[in-house]
């Protein structure tokens, strides 16, 4: 399984903070597993995706293996 984490405001939009999805999981599988509003957010450039603790330079090449943690990262605000 792949654990998918929805960070920050994405958790409110998705209605969940975490999902378990079957491995392997690519970009199309991820988009197909979330609601349409979340899918629209994920397609925006400002939302980043990390897999196994590394931010992907091209999220559309996501290819998560069994045991991977995938984090969906909306625009940040700290400080």
């Amino acid at each position: 399984m792949v654990t998918v984490l929805f960070l920050g405001p994405l958790a409110d939009i998705a209605g969940v903070a975490e999902l378990e999805l079957p491995a392997p999981m690519n970009w199309a599988a991820l988009i197909g597993a979330v609601n349409s509003e979340t899918a629209d957010q994920l397609r925006e450039d400002r939302v980043k995706v990390a897999c196994g603790g590394r931010v992907l330079s091209d999220k559309r090449l996501l290819n998560a293996a069994d045991g991977d943690e995938v984090a969906l990262l909306p625009p940040v605000s700290g400080g």
């Binding site: 920050g8 405001p9 990390a50 984090a71 940040v76 605000s77 400080g79």
Partner: protein
């Protein structure tokens, strides 16, 4: 001397800054910025969440960039996560250097990156509930100054 921390409990910046300065003997100047939860804007609480596998490593990479870019002797970078009340410190950045410019610029650089290029998400609780805080246009303009 480098001291990079994520804290999930209230902290007292003064208790960190003194020892930090002491740990950089021979420094010519220390510059410190402390960010606090603003009071008075109908904000009852502020919550900062983060993504542990990225946030602290990202702060260390930011410190690497600051050391590479400025003439620094030491850098203290402390950021809160969790729920905070108005008046509580959120962030403390302190830089020690032989000359003032390196220390002042390093703090400015680190703060601009923590505001809009570090893995934190901020929301405020007001009388009508929780509201996510998006980075302001000014935050992006501030960050672009360092490109």
């Amino acid at each position: 001397m480098r001291d990079i921390r994520l804290l999930d409990q209230i902290f007292i910046p003064g208790s960190l800054i003194g020892p930090f300065a002491q740990a950089n003997p021979g420094l010519g100047g220390v510059c410190t910025f402390v960010g606090e939860v603003r009071s008075g804007d109908d904000v009852e609480a502020l919550e900062l969440t983060h993504y542990e596998p990225l946030t602290l490593p990202g702060m260390h990479e930011l410190a690497d960039q600051a050391f590479g870019r400025f003439s620094l002797m030491g850098l203290l970078m402390v950021h809160r996560v969790g729920v905070m009340r108005p008046g509580e410190p959120i962030v403390c950045v302190s830089a020690a250097a032989a000359h003032r410019r390196g220390a002042i610029d390093a703090v400015d650089f680190v703060m601009d990156h923590l505001k809009s290029a570090a893995w934190f998400w901020k929301r405020e609780r007001r009388s009508d509930g929780w509201h996510w805080i998006e980075p302001r246009a000014q935050d992006h303009t501030d960050l672009a100054r360092w490109d």
